[in-house]
Symmetry: C2
Subunit: 72 residues, 2 copies
DNA sequence: GACTTCCACGCAGCTAAGCTACGGGCTACG
DNA sequence: CGTAGCCCGTAGCTTAGCTGCGTGGAAGTC
């Protein structure tokens, strides 16, 4: 549920930075496969992982949970 | 790092709702000990767990990651 | 057609961490 | 004293976070 939206959000942010999954994986220092899993909502990163994602995407963690559907 | 702040945030939200750890644990249907661990920043809940916490505290997940220190 | 880049996806595996139960201990309050 | 609310350590089960490998497909370029 949540991870699905989270994945889409991350994928969107990544694309908006013109990064490939591979590049993002390198920044985060994790596997490309994992990026794929996360973006598809199969896996959700841990809280520690969220921090990395946010940093790599130049946003704050709370922004990762900010969707269109959310208020505001 | 993050989980520390997250824990404080959750504890703060819980208190502001005048809930005890026990009551919160019941709403989330998890153990009281776990609430304690989370609030102290020893453990961080999983993404699925975050959803439960947010729902129990009547906020959105993104609000759990909204600290004083954060921008805005 | 052949090649490359980007990505989805299944499978198999390790280990870290989420989560629980039990037991003890401290403070505050009636 | 007794109870409520919380902290804390230890020990343990179990899930899922995360990896590697290998495949294959869509789109672009030459």
């Amino acid at each position: 549920m949540l991870q699905k939206k989270l994945g889409l959000r991350i994928a969107g942010l990544r694309r908006s930075q013109s990064l490939t999954q591979e590049q993002l994986a390198e920044v985060i220092s994790c596997s490309v496969e994992f990026i794929s899993l996360v973006e598809r909502g199969v896996n959700a990163p841990s809280v520690a992982g969220l921090e990395k994602f946010a940093k790599a995407l130049n946003v704050e963690v709370r922004d990762l949970f900010t969707f269109e559907g959310s208020r505001r």
